[in-house]
């Protein structure tokens, strides 16, 4: 669970909540650069959009905890975007996790996983308000449900020995222990040979 301090002195409503939840998304991406100016743009349906180097995301704030019919309509809505973003869309669905919180976990069972299984990622995040002993107000966010498609691993064209054998790097931190002979590769060198391997594989078919 993540907790965000509320800076505003007003009641926590509307755009204040949206701003906090956007902050939660930024934290999720751990400062990844936001690209192409799509960041946090809202559309007429009150979805807000952003893009990072890992792809496009879409967020929705529900005004009540979801039930099965809400999940169905969300699925329909997300399917519409699937064609627009063939590379995949990451979805955040926020809902107030107050008094009805008890029934929410039961909703996210196997059937829900299969319902959202075709998307790049779908997260359902409950939020609720707290008042701490110091009388400051906070919003707590908890992830209730997440379906995430793992990217297909790229076949490693490099041999295993490139990573596991050899003398210490003669130019690196082990320079003092230098023994002549085949040296280990740095991470950057491995990546460069990996790229070469992919290119050669492509040419040779």
């Amino acid at each position: 669970m993540k907790t965000f301090k509320v800076e505003s002195s007003k009641n926590i409503e509307g755009s204040d909540v949206a701003a906090l939840l956007k902050q939660a998304i930024c934290d999720h991406y751990e400062g990844m650069p936001v690209m192409r100016g799509l960041a946090f743009e809202e559309d007429s349906e009150k979805r807000f959009w952003g893009e990072t180097s890992s792809g496009v995301y879409c967020a929705r704030i529900l005004n009540r905890a979801p039930d099965y019919s809400v999940l169905e309509s969300l699925k329909e809505e997300l399917l519409k975007f699937k064609n627009i973003f063939p590379e995949g869309l990451e979805c955040f669905v926020f809902f107030p996790a107050g008094e009805k919180q008890g029934s929410v976990p039961e909703l996210f069972e196997e059937s829900s996983i299969s319902m959202f299984g075709g998307f790049k990622s779908v997260r359902f995040l409950g939020f609720h308000f707290l008042r701490a002993l110091d009388d400051k107000r906070y919003v707590a966010i908890e992830e209730f449900f997440c379906v995430e498609k793992k990217p297909e691993p790229i076949e490693n064209p490099l041999p295993d020995f490139a990573l596991s054998f050899g003398s210490p790097d003669p130019y690196g931190e082990h320079a003092a222990e230098f023994l002549p002979g085949p040296a280990t590769l740095t991470r950057q060198e491995i990546e460069e040979f990996f790229e070469i391997g992919l290119e050669i594989k492509k040419i040779r078919g």
Partner: protein, 263 residues
């Protein structure tokens, strides 16, 4: 052809027909008063038999008038090497090789013109051998199959011995085996060359293909040994290298007059 023109030749372009039928070098690479005294190593990380490439290149050099010999340091010569090379093939025990260094300190350096190439066969898996032999090398030929695994192995050795080599050392690449696809081989060489240049400031020189998989092997017709005669900027003759050449000369003079003083 000037030396500058030769230096510009890189990549896999067929820039020379010197080795059509493996006999075309005319030997006009030097001025009359220019010496060429080189120690050459051959590294074949993916093959248990390093001798083949040495014997083939030594034979080519001999045909173009450069006296060549093969010297195995601290180990027995590979079986069959003597049968494949008509020139001197010698062995020197490790302790005798080490003794040569001491001898070199008191050696009188003669100023005669000599053109000789010595192929050094040594134990590349021994740190001690690498430490003693690699500083003597002027040319190091990496002979590998055209695969990423193989160039990684070549890269690892280059990186792991970079501190030992002379600044004038020249690295060469030979692809072994059948030519499967020129385009892929070209890309592989160019990319490998670029990595070496970027990471270590090394200008890798392409020699050509050799079909070494079976029998005695033969060179691709574009095999271009003219690069081998590039002038080494800032090169100087190490006393222990000269001592090594003197040792070979003394040994060979007992049986044959192969190492002429003046060519």
């Amino acid at each position: 052809m000037s030396s500058d023109e030769r230096r510009l030749k890189r990549g896999l372009k067929d820039v020379s027909n010197l080795f059509v039928e493996e006999s075309g070098l005319d030997g006009k690479f030097f001025d009359a008063n220019e010496s060429f005294l080189k120690c050459v190593g051959v590294y074949r990380p993916m093959s248990p038999s390093p001798g083949l490439i040495s014997t083939k290149i030594a034979s080519l050099l001999t045909r173009c008038g450069i006296s060549s010999a093969i010297l195995s340091i601290g180990r027995k010569l590979e079986a069959g090497v003597k049968g494949m090379f008509e020139g001197p093939c010698l062995e020197i025990p490790w302790n005798d090789f080490e003794q040569l260094k001491r001898k070199a300190l008191s050696m009188k350096i003669e100023s005669c013109v000599r053109r000789q190439v010595l192929f050094l066969d040594f134990e590349e898996h021994s740190a001690e051998h690498l430490r003693s032999v690699v500083p003597l090398l002027d040319r190091w030929i990496f002979s590998v199959p055209p695969t990423v695994d193989a160039i990684i192995e070549a890269y690892r050795m280059i990186k792991g011995t970079r501190r030992l080599v002379q600044s004038s050392m020249q690295y060469y690449l030979v692809f072994e085996g059948d030519i499967r696809g020129r385009e892929a081989d070209e890309v592989l060489f160019e990319k490998f060359s670029a990595v070496l240049s970027e990471k270590m400031g090394i200008n890798l020189v392409w020699l050509g293909h050799i079909a070494a998989g079976s029998g005695r092997g033969h060179f691709d017709e574009a095999f271009d040994l003219s690069h081998f005669f590039l002038r080494d900027a800032g090169a100087y003759e190490l006393p222990d290298k000269l001592a090594l050449f003197d040792h070979v000369k003394a040994e060979t003079s007992k049986t044959m007059s192969f190492f002429d003083e003046n060519v």
